[in-house]
Amino acid sequence: MQPLIDIKNVHLSYDTASGKLPVLDGFDMSVPEGGFVAVVGPSGCGKSTLTRLIAGLMKPDSGEVWLDGQQVTSPRATVGMAFQNPVLLEWRSILKNITLPLEIVPTKLNKAQQEERARYLLSLVGLEGFEQKRPSELSGGMRQRASLCRALIHQPDVLILDEPFGALDAFTREDLWQIMHDVKAREPFTGVMITHDLRESIYLADQVVVMSGRPATTQFVMDMPVTGARSIETLYTPEAADMLKVLRHQIEVAQGRAPSAASNTTGGH
């Protein structure tokens, strides 16, 4: 089957005061429809650049980014984004924040239907009753959940998450992992998530991609034995510990702190 997201041999460099700074150097990645890929890698390796490429906010110097059989050259309405910073608009209620994308993208829903869908999404993430609150009245985890609702309101094909839970405490983060699985079961999407948390990557994703240090290539790909929704208990099994160990080693290789032992083949256990 043709992958929904297909990134082929992408090169990209930034212009800086001291010349060209290569960020992506022949990066490849593909995600099947309904798949969920987590991208991990050392700090500053170009992970956020990757999300901007998929969203069409940037163009690669060479190589191609394909979404649903079309080459991405500009932003498109079939993408939803959420960042580490929930960027909710303080002058709007939570409900109005969530319906914001529907003011941009064409929609068949009327005002009442839009609000109904926003309420439905809020109930999915456990935020019913907070529709009329201001963002500053919510905790960090709640704001991130609202941000997730906003990213999903226009039923995007692709959800791009750039370290969405990075600023949350460990307990809140585990809550949100569970919510992610629940939401994906009810509101199917094809997901790409950037993260620094290896446990998060193996718990949420179907596949984990390790990016090498800058300039980044696809260094390592690991397919999860279980895909889709799973219990948090799977994180506390010997298999999970092994996977984490492999990924940790790959990060060290990417950071240049450990020699590359294995070849760049697909992992999996």
Partner: protein
């Protein structure tokens, strides 16, 4: 509004006036050195119709100058906020322009547009007050976090949409902060022109004629009238701020 919110400032004003009265009384100053509040009452009584007509002259010119400052300041702020090149080009010019004491510009403007009294006065009120507005808008726009832009840009929103939906509302609190400064500055500008280039209109002209006639209580009375107008206009801005940027106020916890 609670009674307390009115009583506290009113009480502060009464205490201030009492202190002023006592100071003049104890020092036994003649009214040409320092008029006391009790000297002002007859001045207001005698010239109340002048205060009304002159005060109106000053007020409408200040407001018109301020409105032009808001339009021009916002446009300049947008240009500088969105374009780094324009910011680098315009900033030194604006800072230099702002550093020139406007009292020195007044005679130049008065000579340049001889006889155009209303225009001259409005021009000075505008020139003295647009700077803080331009700076606040440009800083508000240029410090907008990229994620704010990206959430709409990723959906294919145009630059204009991003400005109306995100950049402008997000800049409103800074804008109103600057507007509070600009209000009082615009008053200074109007009066500079009215005093330096007398054309017989406005509170500045009333001040000038009081000076010529050595009517010292009237001079002080004009200053108080100016302070009163300043307070009124300032609170008009406060009310507008509550309406349009009230969301920026956090409830005390």
């Amino acid at each position: 509004m609670s009674l307390r919110k009115i009583l506290v400032p009113v009480l502060a004003i009464v205490i201030f006036l009492a202190f002023w009265e006592a100071l003049v009384w104890f020092k036994d100053w003649p009214n040409y050195k320092m008029a006391s509040p009790s000297d002002l009452v007859p001045a207001f009584k005698q010239y109340w119709h002048l205060f009304l007509s002159m005060g109106w002259q000053t007020l409408w010119r200040t407001v018109v100058g301020l409105l032009i400052a808001i339009v021009v300041g916002t446009i300049l702020g947008m240009v500088m906020g969105f374009s780094k090149t324009m910011r680098e080009a315009l900033y030194p010019l604006l800072v230099g322009f702002n550093a020139i004491p406007k009292a020195t510009v007044v005679p130049i403007v008065a000579l340049m547009f001889v006889g155009a009294h209303d225009f001259n006065t409005i021009l000075i009120a505008f020139m003295i007050s647009f700077f803080p507005i331009a700076v606040s808008i440009s800083i508000g726009l240029s410090t907008l976090e990229p994620e704010y832009r990206d959430i709409l840009r990723a959906l294919g929103a145009s630059k204009a949409t991003i400005f109306w939906k995100i950049a402008l509302p997000k800049t409103l609190p800074e804008f109103f902060g600057a507007l509070k400064v600009a209000v009082t500055l615009a008053f200074i500008g109007t009066n500079l022109m009215e005093i330096v280039s007398p054309h017989g209109r406005g509170l500045g002209a009333l001040f000038d004629s009081a000076k010529t006639n050595s009517d010292y209580p009237l001079m002080f009375a004009v200053l108080i009238a100016l302070a009163f107008l300043g307070i009124v206009l300032y609170y008009v801005v406060v009310v507008l701020e509550r309406i349009f940027a009230g969301w920026a106020e956090r409830e005390p916890t």
